[in-house]
Symmetry: C2
Subunit: 245 residues, 2 copies
């Protein structure tokens, strides 16, 4: 049983940065009690909704987004196994973002009280989770930076590289590439581009031998060149673990 839990994507991710004690792992188990499934495309959390629970994504992909009054949609982040869904919405009264599954997903639901309990029982785990939240914020900042000061191709490459690095942490990618359920429309809404332009950019990069995004797979055809091209640093992803209070 413990064996299985060490293998959950979240445990795997956290263990990369903090060594988890048996107590921590046990507390993590508790958070995984209520496993639920959701269909693709059906809102899991809606902008402004008040939900007393949050989720740990165990299987499948999702995304968080905001819709504007003018009709546009901006994807804030893609969520992969091991990520929290709606963590902020239980710490604070309401969420300002919506979350929608891309594929059918499985996620473990936990309540606000479960979280506070965990914080009390396994402080080290609490720290690790706070760190994970901070890492998420660093990713949003990096996304913002890319949006403002990288062109369409650099941005696209950067997002796909970042996803690769994150997936590798949970064992879902290697240095050659990964399975990717994103449509070009989703990519466009994340990158602040039109789907048409995303398509052209992907073709260019494929023809330049940098990366291939096709048939549900991302292949890094020239990883070094791509990292260079995108100005991908990764420092904001795998910096040292959290300080222990």
């Amino acid at each position: 049983m413990q064996m299985l839990l060490t293998d959950s994507p979240l445990a795997r991710k956290l263990a990369t940065f903090v060594s988890l004690s048996p107590v921590d792992l046990l507390a993590l188990t508790d958070l995984h009690r209520r496993r639920r499934k959701f269909a693709a495309g059906r809102n899991l959390l809606h902008q402004g909704e008040i939900l007393p629970s949050a989720f740990i994504l165990a299987h499948g992909w999702a995304f968080s987004y905001k819709v504007l009054t003018n009709g546009g949609r901006q994807i804030v982040d893609f969520k992969i196994p091991g990520d929290f869904l709606g963590l902020r919405s239980i710490l604070f009264r309401s969420s300002d973002q919506s979350i929608e599954p891309i594929t059918p997903i499985e996620a473990s639901e936990f309540l606000q009280s479960d979280l506070f309990e965990t914080f009390a029982n396994a402080p080290r785990l609490a720290t690790a989770m706070l760190w994970a939240a901070s890492r998420d914020e660093a990713m949003v900042v990096e996304h913002l930076v890319g949006m403002g000061r990288r062109n369409a191709a650099e941005r696209t490459a950067h997002v796909l590289l970042e996803l690769g690095a994150r997936l590798r942490l949970v064992g879902l990618a290697d240095s050659h590439g990964y399975a990717c359920p994103l449509s070009q429309y989703l990519l466009a809404d994340a990158l602040g581009l039109s789907a048409v332009h995303v398509n052209r950019v992907l073709r260019d990069m494929r023809e330049q031998g940098l990366l291939t995004f096709q048939h549900g797979k991302v292949s890094f055809d020239n990883l070094k060149g791509l990292v260079d091209f995108a100005g991908f640093d990764m420092g904001y992803l795998d910096h040292d673990g959290p300080l222990q209070p």
Copy 2:
């Protein structure tokens, strides 16, 4: 003395959302012990630097930013009195952003240990500060959304409206406008635009009677029209206070 502290921008901001007890105010006092001054334009915190302290901005403006390998600079957030500077960098080992004063500033420096002490002595204040941090993150998300799905004019209007709302919280603005030390270059680096284009956009909005950005002042010439034009919601700014664990 207590009177004065209730008047600090941070106390004023937090008090809008959480009622602070005398103990909380006292703890806040402690954080304000070490007041320091910094000249405009001199880096306060540098990308990647490890600093054991953070600041509460008491007077003047600053901004946080990242520089890219390609030379571009993206401003992540403007900092006004009552804001934290470098809070993340003491919770986590290193900061991925730099901070620079725009005007001469005064800020209260506090150490990591001061913060943990405060958390222990005044839990309610700790919650309030965590909430403030979360609000900052919501602003970054909104900034990201604007970058991706609002055009140059909407983005500009949105940022200036948001600054107005934040300044009002600390008594530095009213519904007509506020004093604003930003140059068009800074605005451009925050908006992901060229300074030249910012200039044109500002002129357009001035000619349309929406807002005037001139001589260090922002005037909302048609607040309602402007809010409408920018799709400014404000929900992400003044949502309810934090939940009390």
